[in-house]
């Protein structure tokens, strides 16, 4: 099993204009179904709390602090999730089941580098 990070960008939480209430509710139902499916199939690795849309960015040698991630809505990181899967192909297939594409979002699938476990110290 390998581990992957799903980086969600854009989607229902950033789309402009925001969807009407009923659409948000119906869309949420699809997310809970997808996330529930991942957990039941044993793919879920870590649960991180959800992200706010706003924040600060520290950048450059001057370590300038600016308000907010000034990305366009569709590029704004809207969430992260760690999953396990046999291969990147399987992970991509899992990502294809995400409902984020309904609102033109994207899922970046990034494998974690597998660091070998250190051998037990010789006696």
């Amino acid at each position: 099993m390998s581990k992957f990070m799903f980086i969600f960008r854009g989607g229902g939480v950033t789309v402009q204009p925001p969807p009407p209430p009923a659409e948000i509710g119906a869309h949420l139902a699809k997310w809970t179904a997808w996330i529930d499916g991942l957990a039941k199939a044993g793919h879920t690795e870590s649960h991180l709390p959800p992200l706010e849309n706003g924040g600060k960015t520290v950048r450059g040698s001057s370590k300038t602090v600016t308000d907010g991630p000034y990305a366009e809505a569709k590029d704004l990181v809207s969430g992260i999730l760690t999953v396990s899967a046999d291969s990147i192909e399987v992970a991509v297939e899992l990502a294809r089941g995400c409902p984020i594409y309904e609102y033109n979002g994207s899922v970046e699938v990034r494998p974690f580098i597998a660091i070998p476990h250190s051998a037990p110290a010789p006696r």
């Binding site: 139902a29 997310w31 809970t32």
Partner: protein, 414 residues
């Protein structure tokens, strides 16, 4: 409720949106409904962001608490910008935790505010769907056969009227409520009508509109400032007609009363409607709502078309026509009359209706004539009338209804 149930969550979010806007309007006033709507919107998006792994145990409390925090932030920022320094917003209201007890009052206030006398009845209803019930502009537009952009303009203008009023309409006492109660009940009635009679593209939205009208009518019937025989009559009529909705559309096709599967009628709504009907009989006033509820009750209580008390229904229609002399009421009366005296009598009645020409564009006029002709064995006349009806049909379910009945009598008129 299963969190996977898309429709249940759609309804929850819509209703909570209305409750949030009504609650937030307390702090931002009618002059700044836009901010209230924005915060409600952001709150729902925060839920979308946070509830992926499942709903909190008390979704409504979660939403109100997020909304309250956001409202506090906005007010604080404004206060700082004005240089007020001290922030006067940990006021009793923002701090109070009793949002649940007061949210019905908030909804009532917003309902009454939407029924501003300088708005047309349709606009009052549309505004209520938008602000109190949380329907999106496109959904409101479809309930009124309107173009979404035209509806958006109408809603913007209507909100401007509310803003000019300066404050929410107070519904604490019966005296205050009286001033607009008739208009509010009419708006709820029209809302129900839009959900019951119109056959908008999305069947789900249509029945949701009717369900919202049932909810608001019940709120009026049960709130201390607005309750009374007439409010109960309105609640009764929405429940008793609403009970038939599950059978009225089968697989997207409009099913006439005599062909409806009565076991699919909502028994809970029938029972609730009968309770409201009993409670409506306490006053001396016999309103249009009473009569329409009485007619619906006759249908709800009958096991079949054959065992329906048509004499009583005709009597109620006569009383109704005396108060509401519209061709549609006359048409319904003629249809009931045909159940007693036969289809030929019905056809003669329908053709002799006062204001008949106003029904030319009304699909159910032609459907009624077609049905009566089929029952009278005059298939040629039925084909002619049903073909006329097919031309007037406004939506696919209506068109399907005519094509089906034309099929019953051997195809369209040549």
């Amino acid at each position: 409720m299963s969190p996977r149930d898309e429709h249940a969550l759609a309804v929850l979010f819509r209703q909570e949106s209305g409750r949030l806007v009504a609650y937030l309007a307390r702090f931002f006033g009618v002059a700044d409904l836009a901010t209230a709507e924005d915060i409600a919107q952001e709150t729902l998006l925060a839920a979308l962001q946070s509830w992926g792994e499942g709903l909190p145990s008390e979704p409504s409390a979660w939403l109100f608490s997020v909304a309250k925090n956001r409202a506090r932030d906005v007010l604080r920022r404004r206060s700082v910008r004005k240089g007020n320094g001290a922030v006067a917003l940990d006021s009793a209201e923002l701090a109070d935790e009793t949002t649940h007890n007061t949210s019905d009052e908030d909804l009532l206030q917003m309902m009454f505010s939407c029924c501003h006398p300088s708005l047309t009845e349709d606009t009052q209803t549309a505004l209520m769907l938008r602000l109190v019930c949380g329907f999106g502009t496109a959904e409101v537009a479809s309930a009124f056969f309107s173009d979404p952009r035209a509806m958006e303009k109408r809603l913007v203008r209507a909100k401007k009227v509310l803003a000019d009023e300066g404050k929410l309409f107070d519904v604490t006492t019966r005296q205050e409520a009286n001033e607009r109660q008739a208009a509010v009940m009419k708006a709820v009635y029209l809302m129900f009508d839009a959900g019951y009679h119109s056959s908008v593209a999305h069947e789900v939205v249509r029945s949701d509109v009717a369900a919202e009208a049932i909810r608001l009518a019940a709120l009026l019937a049960e709130s201390h400032a607005t309750t009374g025989p007439v409010a109960h009559a309105l609640a009764a009529l929405t429940c008793l007609h609403g009970a038939r909705l599950p059978a009225r559309f089968a697989a997207g096709v409009l099913v006439p009363l005599e062909k409806q599967d009565r076991s699919a009628w909502d028994a809970r709504l029938v029972a609730l409607g009968m309770q409201h009907l009993a409670a409506s009989a306490t006053g001396s006033e016999l309103t249009v709502f009473h009569l329409e509820a009485g007619i619906a009750a006759q249908h709800a209580a009958a096991g079949s078309v054959e065992t329906t008390n048509w004499q009583e229904i005709v009597r109620l229609y006569d009383l109704l026509y005396a108060r509401k002399a519209t061709p549609v009421v006359a048409l319904s009366r003629a249809i009931a009359l045909a159940r007693i005296f036969g289809p030929q009598t019905g056809i003669a009645e329908v053709l002799a209706l006062e204001g008949r020409e106003r029904l030319d564009a009304y699909p159910f006029y032609w459907a009624a004539l077609g049905d009566l002709a089929i029952r009278a064995g005059d298939l040629a006349a039925a084909r002619t009338w049903l073909s006329r009806g097919h031309e007037t049909a406004r939506t696919d379910p209506e068109r399907d209804m005519f094509l089906r009945r034309l099929g019953d009598c051997g195809g369209a008129a040549s």
